[in-house]
Amino acid sequence: MMNNPRALYQEVILDHNKKPRNFGVLENANRHAEGHNPVCGDHITLHVKIDGGHISGISFEGQSCAICKASASMMTGQVKGKTVVEAETLIQEFREMATGKLDVNAQPHHLGRLTVFAGVSELPSRVKCAILPWHTLHAAFKDMGSTSTEKDF
């Protein structure tokens, strides 16, 4: 369990913040959603291509802090190729981990490498930064168009 925010930063930032994966516009995407955190100004757009219940493509763009960008980058890598149902499970588990409700060391989950974000639960003011991409992915699935960290699922 990572509970040192400095360690969280080093793990996540050094890689995904500098070289975000799946960053940019996705041709042929059939779902789009915008996520906005009015508290800090994080703003991301997700482009998702869903084929027969599978996420065949996903990308993101926007302007955000390192925690949000790294979370979005890793999320796109993790959900690509999965079904929407599987991704919804990850959304739920990620939220629970980030808010401290899921102890990734003691309870079963499917988060894999995403557990590097467990430490964010120690930073209440930054939890929403980590969750925003997942929130936005949920909005894309529901075809909600846009969402905000100030809205509940």
């Binding site: 930063y9 930032i13 800090c40 100004g41 302007q63 802090c65 390192a66 930073l123 930054r126």
Partner: protein, 430 residues
């Protein structure tokens, strides 16, 4: 009274010129810091470096003691009881009003209205003055650097009355363009709402001159003094502002209380903001006669302890001296700005010639929230975000800034800690 005697900070208010860079000597600043128990705290194992004073300042023991004394010995409701405690509480609360009057140089104590804070003061004027005297086709002028609390109420009024909001633009340094300001006036201009000092940029606006311009067109002016009152001597009669609003908690007082100053003639013309107890003279089911100012605008039981605490905070600040406070904070700002400019990739947002001790900055492409979180790990408290001034961020094309804001109890060593912290942030992101 012993509380009053204790209520003085333990230092000489004479500037010590032995230290050319500050109004305070090293021993003075140590004695001031000893008055603030919270400054002894450590955060994440590091000494607290509190540089978020523009958001809220810390409270000296003298104010804490005054609050405790009130709650321990003096509490009762005010303005209604005939018993001793109620009369004493009323006297203490009204004494606080007199202290505020003297603090900002108002002519009469009935021009001082207790509110919950700056935001409520602005909303009170919007309802009491705006809704009565501003109508369709009228224009309200605000500036490009207002806090949301001095934008949104006027937008709400404009929407309701079909009035128009006009914006004074600013330059890249964060200074208002006075020529453009003068051009905004016309026969429809009915009100000007302007910040005295910008919370996001630190700019000190030339409000005296701007008020004179507005008065040529017969437009009353409200000044948002939340960031000015704690840091510089303010005299509302000298400024000739029509309304002045500020908050207790940014000037070493408790949260939950603020001040609206208004010229008596204007306050008398205004409609009440909230109905209830204390704001009436006589109530029947047919008709209510409102109380005189200031009570007309003070419905319900106020934050009595907080109001008395604000009085104690004014005593404390006054004993140190606002000239000394301003001089020390200016020295901190100059020292911090120079050090910040030497950090590669750091850009100061807000470089007005006349600035209060606010250092807003961006650093490479590191998001300010990441800067804030990492500085916090070093024990350094700064604000990161849009500072409730999103239009300012839009003007500079940035989502947010990190902001260090200084108070008279901050030291040059704390500026050094901030600069070292910024270097640490750069290292993490290198």
């Amino acid at each position: 009274m012993n509380v009053r005697a204790k209520n003085q900070p333990q230092l000489s208010s004479t500037p010590n010129h032995a230290n050319a860079t500050s109004a305070f000597s090293a021993s003075n600043i140590e004695r001031i810091r000893a008055d603030f128990p919270i400054l002894q705290r450590s955060i994440h194992g590091k000494p607290l470096v509190y540089l978020d004073n523009a958001a809220s300042s810390q409270m000296p023991q003298q104010v804490i003691d005054r609050l405790a004394h009130y709650q321990t010995h003096e509490h009762a409701n005010i303005h209604r009881g005939v018993h001793t405690l109620s009369q004493n509480a009323t006297t203490e609360y009204e004494n606080a009003r007199l202290k505020v009057m003297n603090f900002i140089g108002a002519k009469e104590s009935r021009e001082i209205i207790f509110t919950h804070g700056t935001t409520e003061g602005i909303n009170l004027v919007m309802h009491g003055y705006g809704r009565r005297f501003i109508g369709e086709g009228d224009e309200i002028i605000i500036s490009a650097m207002e806090h949301h609390s001095n934008i949104v109420p006027w937008q709400m009024l404009c929407e309701e009355k079909k009035a128009r909001l006009r914006i004074i633009p600013m330059n890249d340094a964060g200074e208002l363009l006075l020529d453009e300001y003068a051009k905004l006036f016309n026969k429809n201009t009915k009100f000007v709402a302007l910040t005295h000092v910008s919370n996001a940029l630190g700019t000190i606006n030339p409000v005296r001159e701007m008020i004179a311009t507005a008065h040529q067109y017969g437009a009353p002016v409200l000044l948002d003094g939340a960031q000015a009152a704690p840091h510089m001597a303010v005299n509302v009669q000298d400024l000739d502002c029509d309304f002045y609003v500020f908050s207790s908690h940014k000037m070493c007082g408790p949260t939950g209380v603020g001040i609206l100053y208004g010229k008596a003639a204007l306050l008398e013309k205004m409609q009440p903001y909230q109905g209830g107890g204390d704001m009436i003279l006589n109530v029947t089911f047919e008709r209510t006669t409102y109380n005189d100012i200031p009570h007309k605008f003070e419905a319900g039981t106020p934050a009595i302890a907080a109001g008395i605490g604000l009085g104690a905070a004014i005593d404390y600040i006054t004993a140190i001296g606002l000239e000394n406070i301003a001089a020390h904070e200016q020295a901190l700002l100059e020292y911090a700005s120079e050090a910040a400019r030497s950090i590669p990739g750091l850009k100061i947002i807000g470089t007005a010639q006349h600035k209060a001790a606010v250092l807003s900055f961006i650093l490479d492409d590191i998001h300010p929230h990441d800067i804030g979180t990492l500085l916090d790990q070093e024990g350094i408290a700064v604000r990161a975000g849009h500072h409730c001034a999103q239009p300012v961020m839009q003007r500079f094309g940035i989502p947010a800034t990190a902001r260090a804001s200084f108070a008279f109890y901050n030291t040059f060593e704390e500026v050094d800690a901030l600069i070292a912290g910024i270097h640490t942030v750069k290292k993490v992101f290198a």
